[in-house]
Symmetry: C2
Subunit: 455 residues, 2 copies
């Protein structure tokens, strides 16, 4: 429960429609896509950086947890008030402050949706590349807090590559301004990227200067089916070793394809054991070269068929069929987003097959193969304690394998609360201690999203 004096102080500043304390109202801010539930004791809706600052200062005074939150679409529990306290919803800081195509920049408040940025940029021939699957609904504040990325990261990078500067309120209650308005700038330390991906543990983002990219003139797609996993992963390696970078390179394994076939037997070739969905973009004149180079890289004895598709919507059809199906057959599946070097994908996926067999777990793998970023889904029944235990052991081995292959535990979801237990597998103690000291520096009373990100 919140201290009575804190509630009184906040009530003096925030009207009731921007300060929820009724548990019924607060419940909508209790969850994210991790499917954990932690109702906050209150929800605040600031409209300005100064209001955020006043809230942070009060939470420091009363040592009350404050959990910044965009649209709650994260999968790692990063926006949940696990220790109670206040959910700080930035969803009403909705101003697009500047659309500046001459400088390829949009300045916006954190609650602005990724899609709204795209809508503002498009008429000028630009887009903002971060493309998490939640893009239509997730906010740029959340995208920045997690350094969100998606299928097009293989060509365009993730959020950290597309933010020039940030205004934020630190956990200590200071308003800071990082980075600059221009694409070049080397004055002072790079606090912009220190905040990007820090999952709301260092500061509350109140404004961001986003770098825009020109929309490609043309887009084309290729689908490729393989008789076996080895041929498919070899093709991935060959595509990424040649210069024509695809704008997306998505992989579906046998488990994923079988699931799709169980619903629509005709959508996929019966003998396909692995599939690639490949997108290329650029000027209309360069597309044919890119298509040819990628089709060539797909060639092997195990290739069933690789061909250009007529429209890119049909390219994504199998992939879009998959997610709802997965949720249907295993609503409480474990969904990881590990990354291995592209060249290690063959070994990783082969060993993953062995691990799921050994632990008798149904396993569906797909994802952003061009970055080596694979969504590993363990389709468990959480009501079967024995299966849950096997899944935990299997997951532990998967993470060990990822680290052994020089990979990373998370490519886009982040740590939040879900992966805390595994962070020490990747980051050594000395480096981790340094990160904890940075946290203390920004947030000396540990009020901002306490307990998250660290083991």
């Amino acid at each position: 429960m919140l201290p009575v004096d804190l509630v009184a102080d906040l009530s003096a500043v925030f009207p009731a429609d921007r300060f929820y304390t009724d548990p019924v109202d607060c419940y909508s801010y209790a969850y994210d896509n991790s499917r954990k539930i932690f109702p906050p004791d209150a929800v605040l809706f600031p409209l300005t950086a100064e209001e955020v600052q006043s809230i942070v200062r009060l939470c420091n005074q009363y040592e009350t947890p404050l959990v910044p939150r965009g649209r709650g679409t994260g999968t790692a529990g990063g926006s949940l008030a696990e220790q109670g306290g206040i959910a700080l919803s930035l969803e009403r800081m909705l101003n697009i402050i500047a659309v500046d195509p001459a400088n390829r920049v949009i300045v916006a408040e954190p609650g602005v949706l990724n899609q709204s940025i795209q809508d503002a940029a498009k008429p000028h021939g630009f887009f903002w590349p971060p493309d998490p699957s939640s893009a239509a609904y997730s906010s740029i504040g959340g995208n920045i807090a997690t350094s969100a990325g998606g299928p097009h990261a293989v060509k365009y990078g993730t959020t950290r590559d597309h933010v020039l500067g940030i205004k934020a309120v630190t956990g200590a209650g200071d308003i800071i301004k990082t980075g600059c308005y221009t694409t070049k700038g080397v004055v002072g330390y790079d606090l912009t990227r220190l905040l990007i991906g820090s999952e709301g543990t260092l500061a509350v983002i109140t404004e961001a200067t986003l770098k825009l990219t020109a929309l490609p003139h043309a887009v084309a797609g290729i689908t490729a089916h393989f008789r076996d996993l080895v041929s498919c992963t070899s093709a991935i390696v060959q595509i990424m070793a040649q210069p024509q970078l695809p704008s997306a390179l998505e992989f579906l394994d046998t488990g994923a394809l079988d699931l799709i076939r169980s619903r629509d037997a005709d959508m996929l070739p019966t003998d396909s054991q692995a599939m690639l969905m490949i997108e290329v973009d650029g000027s209309a004149n360069e597309i044919p070269d890119a298509i040819a180079a990628i089709l060539k890289a797909c060639q092997s004895d195990g290739l069933i068929d690789a061909k250009q598709v007529q429209d890119t919507a049909s390219l994504w059809k199998a992939r879009k069929t998959l997610s709802p199906l997965l949720r249907e057959v295993a609503p409480k599946k474990i969904n990881e987003d590990v990354v291995v070097p592209v060249n290690s994908l063959p070994e990783f996926l082969a060993q993953l097959t062995q691990l799921s067999a050994r632990y008798q777990l149904a396993n569906v793998n797909f994802g952003h193969a061009g970055n080596g970023n694979i969504h590993v889904n363990l389709l468990i029944n959480p009501d079967d304690p024995e299966e849950v235990k096997r899944a935990e052991q299997c997951l532990d081995e998967i993470f060990d394998l990822v680290i052994r292959l020089n990979g990373t535990l998370s490519g886009e979801h982040g740590i939040g609360s879900e992966k805390r237990a595994f962070v020490s597998k990747e980051i050594d103690n000395v480096t981790l201690e340094l990160m904890k000291h940075i946290k203390q520096l920004f947030d000396p009373k540990n009020i901002l999203n306490p307990g998250k990100l660290f083991p």
Copy 2:
């Protein structure tokens, strides 16, 4: 002078050919391209991270300044032992640890030259995009310490966009490992980019994982001459507002063109008052579209001539003529590298003309117009104290102008010692204090490059 005991401790570990104390030997490590001279008391040449760590620990013990140094090509004094102490030359840490084209990665020690990375990447169809003018001679350690960039940053970004991970020894003597080996990764805070551009004040880089980019298949060039500055700056704005991003967009002003004409009257049209050198790259098939789009963006009443050049070497001829000439006519010129938003270039350059007239200073401006990054050269005679004073006042007004236009004081040179006095114009006190605390965290005894980067 170094403490006698420190010299004894270091002598016990480092042979004489890796530990210089003779002032004659040390003098070669006294200068950089800022033309300031600060001889260190000693020079050490470590070969491993562990050796760097032992040096850092001893310098902590004796509270002795330690100044990391690549090849000393910086222009801001960042690598000079201004307070005496030890120059830590990383020039003998020369191993390329891995060339991994399948993963588009090279892992290298800090002393490896930028050019050596290019040579290692090229046979595989890749390059490493950071391209400071010193690239043939400067080291990747120095490139990373300054987040170096050059003409191609307009398309490819600067060093901070092309490093995946770093191993380093902090000022406290801890060996840390940041980032990862893959292009995606969101585990923990982004210490990689915190170190990039930190000018050797936080940690000594001992290894870097560099992200490679595919070499373009084709390159083409355009030169454009304008009757007046306004037409030229309008063309810059129009080129950058359309989607076909040039791979370089360099600008020369009247002062620069007059200087070139004074040496070679026939190289340039007599009535040209401003010139653009524009490069585009990509697949062979997309070049014609890019050329057409850029030629179109150059059109105005003030355009004398815009045309494709036959070879890109000739494209850079005027630019390459300029630098030696400048050094000849004003060996002690003041050379700044301010940045303004591209759309503010017309106003910035117009006001710069007025300022140099008001302060009666010869002024040559050129640079990376596509990033708004202009090298402002005040051609002063440093032996004329009255002129020096006028230059200082003018510079102060130039920096105020840059900040008023939402720009930044340095696009690629960094702060070092040269721009310390002006940092507070750009970074507010609260943010600056936070940066100072980060410095204390990494380097509690302030031994690493003390006095640099901060006002």
